[in-house]
């Protein structure tokens, strides 16, 4: 079978000590075969920006090392693993597929992501999931302040602790947090966990391959008090 023989093909290796990110991304965008391809392995990322950005094909990409800004940004269909730490804006504006960071992620991980799943096995810095628009984010460690700020849709699962202003000005995204919350943001509130919430968290933990008990998580969602202007309370804004 053609499919099986291609899947078993040796990985295609790219060494960023020898070629530029632009050359790599051009290959991934324009030259990669549309049928299931061999796994792509990238060596020596050394903190370069925009590695594997804007992918629009179902392919497995493995990056061995630390990446800089915007790794796997705008991802569509691809499954990208970073065997290292990630700089700011990892998987920002992801549409589908998945991105896994085995180390920690800097600020604004998964910002504005519409779909797909971002898994950060370590900690995420500030503003993780800012303006989230439908993707799922699972953080194995803790998140910094302003996680899910103004998040509109999607789920953010935090296995560790959260910093200040968790879920500030939330819309319809939902946060599940297992550890301590330093403070909730404006209009964010704890809500009871339903069975549906527990099932959701369990499913996301399974995808992330994290072995926590879904019942240990608390739900944070919008109180929806900021949806409408309250002329009688203008000084509270």
């Amino acid at each position: 079978m053609a499919h099986l023989s291609q899947a078993a093909a040796a990985p295609m290796e790219f060494d960023l000590a020898r070629i530029s990110v632009r050359e790599l991304n051009r290959y991934l965008h324009r030259e990669l075969p549309k049928t299931p391809a061999a796994k792509i392995v990238i060596a020596n990322p050394d903190g370069a920006h925009s590695i594997a950005c804007g992918l629009d094909i179902e392919v497995e990409v493995q990056i061995n090392g630390h990446v800089g800004y915007y790794a796997a940004g705008m991802n569509q269909h691809a499954h990208v693993t970073v065997n290292g730490n990630a700089g700011p804006g990892t998987a920002e504006n992801m549409m589908s597929g998945s991105v896994r960071v085995r180390g920690f992620a800097s600020t604004s991980a998964g910002a504005s992501a519409h779909g797909g799943c971002l898994i950060i096995e370590g900690d995420a810095s500030l503003r993780c999931g800012i303006s989230l628009k439908g993707a799922d984010i699972v953080v194995g460690g803790s998140v910094g302040s302003f996680a899910a700020f103004m998040a509109q849709a999607g789920r953010l699962v935090i296995c560790g602790d959260a910093g200040d202003a968790l879920g500030d000005s939330l819309y319809e995204a939902v946060i599940y947090v297992r550890g301590a919350v330093k403070s909730l943001g404006a209009d964010a509130r704890f809500e009871p966990m339903t069975q549906a919430d527990i099932d959701t968290v369990a499913a996301l933990l399974q995808i992330a391959q994290l072995g926590h008990d879904a019942a240990e998580f608390r739900r944070v969602a919008s109180a929806r008090q900021l949806y409408h202007w309250n002329a009688d309370a203008s000084l509270q804004y």
């Binding site: 050394d46 630390h66 810095s125 910094g144 302040s145």
Partner: protein, 298 residues
């Protein structure tokens, strides 16, 4: 945008290689700061009464041998001068104020970039690679350093506006970010007799911290006061003859990453500046938390 770099060598055997280790770090920050670059390198201190002054001539051509002879005639004492193109480091046994007054009147085209027993300071406009080449950064030795690449956003591109900024002796600061109340800080400091050389926002922070240190604060206390007094976005890296200190604003708007091994502590805005350091892939890597003060002593 700007790039920050710091390196403190824990292993004394690496000290002759400080500059060689720095250069790839600095070049890694070229995209963050292509218009100017600067370096403060802290060496073994000169013997007790001596002080070092880093002197910068800009576009002026100075006959440094003639300068040394004139200085020797004007001010008695022990003076040693080593120079590169438009820059010199003067070691002198004379009082710093006396030397500065003489410089002001006799060689006014010279700028004193730094004063201290350990610090040598270089800064100039141009791409980081060009500045590093111009002053031979790769050949420097020392215990620790602070460096910067600048992309100006709030004041002019001139050598004086480049970082590091200094105040007092053996103290310097580099900054990635922008302050929103530098004029307020300045109006507070000027009546205390503190003079400013530029309209740069970073200079206000530098002089604020140095003022607090002179008033008896330790670096940690001074930086804590800064959280209240300095408004804006910042990652600050400060150097004294004894330590490096790093702090980020509450919103962590500007990046920073630290790599620590048994041999060194390296600080940069981004990992790409650390990627060439020896054994960095086995280093402890972490992103400094906002409003936490990190410091490392030699």
């Amino acid at each position: 945008m700007c790039g920050i770099v710091g390196l403190l060598l824990k292993n004394p055997q690496l000290r002759p290689r400080l500059g060689e280790l720095l250069v790839p770090m600095l070049l890694g920050m070229t995209e963050r700061g292509p218009d100017s670059a600067g370096l403060a390198v802290f060496t073994e201190p000169v013997a007790a009464p001596l002080r070092k002054l880093s002197l910068y001539a800009g576009a002026h051509v100075i006959d440094w041998q003639d300068f040394a002879a004139t200085l020797q005639q004007a001010i008695p004492g022990r003076h040693e001068l080593r120079w590169t193109v438009n820059h010199a480091v003067l070691s002198t046994s004379a009082a710093v104020t006396e030397v500065e007054q003489w410089l002001d009147s006799a060689v006014p085209m010279l700028t004193v970039l730094s004063v201290g027993r350990s610090i040598d300071l270089y800064k100039d406009i141009g791409a980081p690679a060009a500045v590093a080449q111009r002053y031979g950064f790769a050949g420097f030795s020392g215990t620790h350093l602070v460096a910067h690449t600048r992309m100006a956003t709030e004041s002019a591109v001139t050598p004086a506006h480049a970082h590091p900024f200094t105040a007092g002796q053996d103290f310097c600061l580099v900054h990635n970010g922008s302050l929103s109340n530098p004029h307020l800080v300045r109006r507070k400091l000027e009546p205390l007799g503190i003079e400013f050389e530029t309209d740069n926002d970073t200079e206000a922070a530098c002089r604020f911290f140095e003022w607090r240190l002179r008033e008896g604060d330790d670096l940690r206390t001074a930086v804590s006061r800064g959280f209240k007094e300095l408004d804006g976005f910042y990652t600050f890296l400060m150097g004294t003859d004894q330590e490096l200190a790093l702090v980020r604003d509450a919103f962590a708007c500007k990046p920073a990453i630290v790599a620590e091994t048994d041999d060194y502590v390296a600080i940069a805005s981004e990992f790409r500046s650390l990627a060439n350091l020896p054994d960095v892939h086995h280093a402890t890597l972490f992103e400094p938390r906002p409003q936490e003060i990190y410091s490392w002593r030699i």
